[in-house]
């Protein structure tokens, strides 16, 4: 990993020296043990030596693409035509970040030509919560995040600069958590969903951390047509059902939402379900393919009608 980190720093300092980027988004050392955190470096005002700040280790779990959209969105206030010309962003990506970036590109939220993507090989990130429980940092596999255990995209493709190295093997069962949950009884599933949701404090961290949640005005915040009330259980369930549903065909399975949640609510069991259904029903995966069409912006005449109610004696 040190080798990858060194190469990344060299690459970043080259980019800065050649003035090919305005910002570099990567990871830096955090202030707590076992923590790396995002950093956004304005390289217009700093020399190539800032690249020494960048780190790459098993704690770089944040999905950095969450910061991208804001660089290209029209200003929150003020007129659109006053906006400055688009900036060039150098972004450090691992597999899941890159999948999110491609989502944003497909959805025309960020222009590909303004990005310089630096792809890193990922062997999986460590889960701080698991480490606390296991108190055993040495056994890496035991402490890997669930999302990484089910990841089949640790080997990035289609980036501008790729640093090669060891990546993860593609796992056998990609949707184990969903299958296990589907096998439970309906009452059981409802009880579990309600139990998890009941802890939610509606801080919205799950939404804020998600790179695909970029709506200017989230349905949960709308005041003119006030969809959601002040946080009864019912409101909170609706918030989650819709937030997760809005990620159908877009979720990059990065688990940023799950990691951000202070209450450690199991959002993963639910976000995975949509990913699985989208793949099984429409053959769509949020992969590295730039040209594919988001499954809910299109249709096929062969789509299944099996969920349609047919009145027995009707027709």
């Amino acid at each position: 990993m040190i080798e990858v980190q060194n190469q990344m720093r060299i690459l970043a300092s080259d980019l800065i020296r050649q003035k090919r980027v305005d910002f570099i988004i990567g990871y830096e050392q955090g202030t707590l043990a076992h923590t790396s955190r995002p950093c956004i470096i304005d390289v217009r005002t700093s020399g190539p030596e800032v690249s020494e700040k960048l780190v790459w280790n098993s704690y770089c779990s944040n999905n950095l693409s969450v910061y991208l959209q804001k660089f290209f969105a029209p200003p929150v206030q003020g007129r659109k035509k006053d906006a400055a010309p688009p900036l060039r962003i150098g972004l450090i990506v691992k597999g899941c970040d890159l999948r999110s970036v491609l989502n944003l590109i497909r959805e025309k939220q960020v222009p590909r030509e303004n990005l310089i993507l630096i792809g890193l090989p990922c062997t999986g990130m460590l889960d701080k919560k698991k480490m606390e429980i296991n108190k055993d940092e040495l056994d890496i596999e035991k402490n890997i995040q669930d999302s990484c255990l089910e990841c089949r995209f640790s080997n990035v493709k289609g980036v501008d600069f790729e640093i090669t190295g060891k990546t993860r093997e593609v796992p056998g069962d990609l949707y184990e958590v969903v299958r296990l949950f589907e096998a439970r009884t309906r009452k059981d599933r409802l009880a579990y969903f309600e139990k998890e949701i009941s802890r939610c404090i509606r801080c919205n961290a799950c939404r804020q951390a998600c790179p695909s949640c970029y709506c200017r005005e989230c349905f949960a915040d709308q005041k003119d047509m006030k969809w959601l009330g002040s946080g009864t259980m019912s409101d909170t369930m609706i918030y989650h059902l819709i937030r997760i549903f809005h990620q159908a065909g877009r979720c990059a399975e990065c688990d940023a939402c799950f990691r951000a949640c202070p209450e450690e609510i199991d959002l993963r069991t639910f976000t995975r379900k949509l990913a699985k259904d989208v793949e099984e029903l429409f053959g769509f995966v949020t992969d590295f393919n730039r040209e594919s069409i988001p499954p809910l912006s299109t249709f096929s005449s062969g789509d299944s009608d099996s969920f349609i109610t047919e009145p027995e004696e009707g027709g």
């Binding site: 202030t31 707590l32 955190r37 801080c203 804020q208 915040d221 002040s230 940023a256 202070p262 209450e263």
Partner: protein, 343 residues
């Protein structure tokens, strides 16, 4: 100062007997584990009090200042007030930093600074006894000692309890606390020198494990015209999620909304709000004076470290470290303060 010793099983018994005593109902909150999570839970005799934890994820402010509270309900022209539930509240086992936060919340919700006393908060607060539990193993991110607190700090607590392994040493620090020990005097044993020694040792160990920042002259430093770029720089990675404020024991901003129910009836509810949200200062016109996160983070820091010290005399941070530990991007308030200090 009244003191007393109780073994852990005795505490369990004492609380069991207090749920209803002399015809008075008490709601007692104690640390408990539910599915591996340590939370402050309402006590019942079957619930075992849990001692082996650093701090709760959620601050205790919700007991006096719930995240969502119905203030009144209405039906066409008729409004019905919904008063806070009466009865005594005993909070046992919160950490001294969180107990200290009540002192600050008291200032906000009582008549002092604004001239308006909040009946909902005070109704619950006035009839409460706070028994805090000294810290043995502070968490990473704690910095209470830099803000006037400490692992055995008594400000804000009616009683401080020191965990001495199998037993607890109780020390009363207010009239309410003295009364509490008085009322239950038959249950308590008097501490001896060994107990006092054990207390000192545990405190010292905890004290040494706590990180420090300097707040000297911070109010004046914040008066300096910090350029926009300073705030922009420190909040570059902030997600605007509000975790830091919802989990903060001293953050107390709220919103009041009317919610229409079906059939032309409805309720007026008060809910927590957070300066980290764009809606916090959104005007009806659509204009937002704090449209960007740098402005919102500035508000958070200024409110805690500049405005409240001026209006109430206190820095509105107790150094509990929740925001440090739980921020998804590790935006560390200690670091922000250090930067302001020019360190």
């Amino acid at each position: 100062m009244k003191t007393g010793i109780l073994t852990k099983p005795e505490i369990q018994e004492l609380f069991s007997s207090m749920i209803t005593k002399n015809g008075e109902e008490s709601r007692i909150f104690v640390p408990a584990t539910i599915e591996g999570r340590v939370i402050l839970e309402e006590f019942s005799p079957e619930r075992e009090i849990f001692y082996d934890f650093a701090n709760f994820l959620r601050p205790p402010k919700g007991i006096f200042f719930p995240q969502r509270e119905v203030l009144c309900s209405f039906e066409q022209e008729r409004a019905v007030e919904v008063p806070p539930a009466a009865g005594r509240i005993i909070i046992f086992g919160i950490r001294p930093c969180d107990a200290r936060s009540f002192l600050f919340l008291d200032k906000i919700f009582s008549a002092g600074s604004s001239g308006f006393a909040d009946p909902y908060y005070l109704g619950r607060r006035e009839n409460s006894v706070i028994i805090s539990l000294s810290c043995i193993e502070p968490s990473e991110g704690c910095f209470c000692t830099s803000l006037g607190g400490g692992p055995g700090d008594e400000s804000g607590s009616d009683i401080v309890a020191f965990d001495l392994g199998d037993r607890l040493l109780f020390e009363a620090h207010s009239a309410k606390g003295e009364n509490f020990i008085e009322e239950n005097t038959t249950e308590f044993r008097q501490p001896d020198a060994a107990d006092q020694n054990a207390k000192k040792e545990s405190l010292q160990a905890a004290f040494n494990a706590i990180s420090r920042i300097s707040t000297d002259g911070l109010v004046e430093k914040l008066d300096d015209d910090f350029s926009d770029s300073f705030w922009e720089e420190i909040t570059a990675t902030c997600l605007g999620c509000g975790v830091c404020t919802y989990l903060c024991p001293t953050c107390h901003c709220f919103d009041i909304t009317d919610e229409k129910d079906r059939d032309g009836t409805g309720t007026r509810v008060r809910t927590w709000d957070s300066c980290q949200y764009p809606l916090f200062t959104m005007h009806a016109s659509g204009h937002n004076p704090r449209a960007e996160k740098k402005q919102r983070m500035r508000q958070r820091i200024m409110h805690k470290f500049s405005y409240t010290p001026r209006t109430t005399g206190d820095v509105f941070c107790v150094g509990c470290g929740r925001c440090v530990r739980k921020c998804p991007v590790n935006l560390d308030i200690r670091e922000v303060i250090r930067k302001i200090n020019g360190e």
